[in-house]
Amino acid sequence: MNHTTLKIIYTNFWSHPVRSLGLVILTAIASVTLLSGVIFSKSLDAGFEQLSSRMGADLLIVPYGVDIQNQSILLQGDFNHHTLPREVLDFVQKLPGVTAASPQFYISTLSASCCDKKVNIIGFDPKTDFTIKPWIRKTYKNNFIPGSVIVGSDIQIENGEKIKFFDKEFTVVGTLEPLGNKLDQTIFADVETVELLRQAAASKGYNISSEGGPSSILANFEEGTDFEKISQKIQEQFNDLQVIQRKNIFDNVIATARSFKIAVWLIAGFFLFTVIAVIYIAFTVSTNERKREFATLLIIGATRKKLADIVLGESFLASGSGAIAGTLFGAVGIISFRFLIQENLQIPFLLPNISAIILTIVGALFIPVIAGVGASYHIAKKIGNIDVYTALKEDA
């Protein structure tokens, strides 16, 4: 394309500012929805993968009253001071077919030196734990020393630095990989450290957890175990608790996430379709109005291909500008607001790795452009076959 062809494209783009900006905005919206749709879906998938490996227990036993409907127990523990009787762990460990059973302690502190808000702590027993340790081992391979803690990825404290609870200092020995949920803002400690914390709180007059019973018990069983029967047995023995099968919890979470994904894809599809329809209509109208201009260009020596290039160039300019604006806006938005999304949706949300993000950005840039240019292709082809005599006669 030479300078004159580019000038024709550019000047025509700006000679219809309302139409052109409308197309740019529409393509930008399509890019934003496409980008956020893909990143949203990938983030949910990544979040679920992490969550699933993190919550690798067949059964979860929690006190009666813990809200399991919104899955907060999975995403952030429950810090409402509910605890289980100590005997439950012994009972579960002796159940037929059990391969592992481990307690967890959820503690919410009133203050910490690191943070403005309350900090949640999850205590676990390194001897029996099978859900937290494998995950923690990715970043911390040593044994736990009482008084040391591992922090979630969003807690900005370096390894070796101290964090203070109730005037007692604890050493940070590791930072975990991001999970994409509230566990990223949680501190993990072994049972002995949790006991030290409880004592420190008690010395300051706070009761941060009732009587040292576990907040939850996670258990794994041999393959083929009848979980209905196991749940029944536990509930016959103890009154005030709930037994949750992993499958049931994940079914709910997955169903919620699937609805979000479908909604986002529908919106992205709608805008993409609208871009195609509007570009087709706008360019049909505009090229019909300009048939005589195109015929004149042909007369003075433009090739038929050049006429088609002008139409395609104009739709490329409109959809390309929109795609760039939309992708930039979408990328900045999704990265800036990911915590807000996590907070409000209450579903695991973990941004995919950088190469996946780049690939998505490239897709969000090119797909609306291809759709836009593709929509004008038929019109460009028609203009390329223009009959000069008819075109000049029309509306003369």
């Binding site: 004159t4 024709i8 005589r292 015929a295 007369i299 003075i300 020596g301 090739t303 005599y389």
Partner: protein
């Protein structure tokens, strides 16, 4: 330059019925010829000129310039030939509204990144009386001014064949005379001029005449010819 049209037929379909706008027309022009095609509206003059200018492919027959059949050329070569050798002024020529008059006139050069002969363009604008409009946009011009812009654009590339369809429509007597004089001067320098018109003044400048009636081209009608 020799322009030769043989058995040119152009058919269109109107309300499902085929009709011949031009029917087996034979046409011939040399360098320096000033040819006038006279005919009523709808007689097929414009269709014939479109075929001679290489912008509308005839249904049958052929058009040759210096022995080169125009419609056997590919899109690119035909476009370049139109750009370099043919200056065509169609009846309802449009201008590009986003470009100034000067830009519209030099468009045929700038399309192919050719150096613009500013002196030649300036002289053309002066001769056609539109030099003062060089920086105006076409939408601010009258019909007569637009007609003269179209003429200047067709002459900008110094073609050796000029085809003009009603070049003096929308022009007053004085400007019509200017245009014919300009064409006559060009013919004397070896440019072939072909004009389709209702305007009988044109016959005073011509050395070859045709009459077009219901798609049929009749040579050397004599009554108006200056042979």
């Amino acid at each position: 330059m020799i322009l030769n049209g043989n058995n040119i037929t152009k058919q269109y379909t109107r309300r499902g019925e085929k009709f011949s706008a031009v029917n087996n027309a034979d046409f011939f022009a040399w360098s320096g010829d000033f040819t006038v095609i006279f005919g009523e509206s709808g007689s097929g003059k414009s269709t014939l000129l479109n075929a001679l200018a290489g912008v509308t492919k005839p249904t049958s027959g052929n058009v040759e310039i210096d022995g080169q059949p125009l419609f056997s050329l590919n899109d690119e070569d035909l476009a370049r030939l139109r750009n370099e050798r043919i200056g065509y002024i169609p009846q309802n020529a449009a201008s590009l509204s986003a470009f100034t008059v000067a830009e519209n006139i030099t468009l045929s050069s700038s399309l192919y990144n050719k150096k613009i002969d500013k002196e030649h363009i300036k002289a053309l604008l002066d001769k056609l009386g539109i030099a003062h409009l060089a920086n105006e946009h076409p939408q601010n011009l009258s019909g007569g001014e637009l007609r003269r812009v179209a003429i200047a654009r067709a002459l900008a590339n110094k073609p050796d064949l000029i085809i003009a369809d009603e070049p003096t429509s929308n022009l007053d007597e004085e400007n019509s005379r200017k245009v014919y004089s300009l064409f006559a001067r060009l013919a004397r320098t070896g440019v072939a001029i072909i004009i389709a018109t209702h305007d009988k003044t044109a016959f005073g400048y011509s050395n070859r005449t045709y009459h077009m009636k219901s798609g049929t081209l009749i040579p050397d009608i004599g009554e108006y010819g200056n042979l």
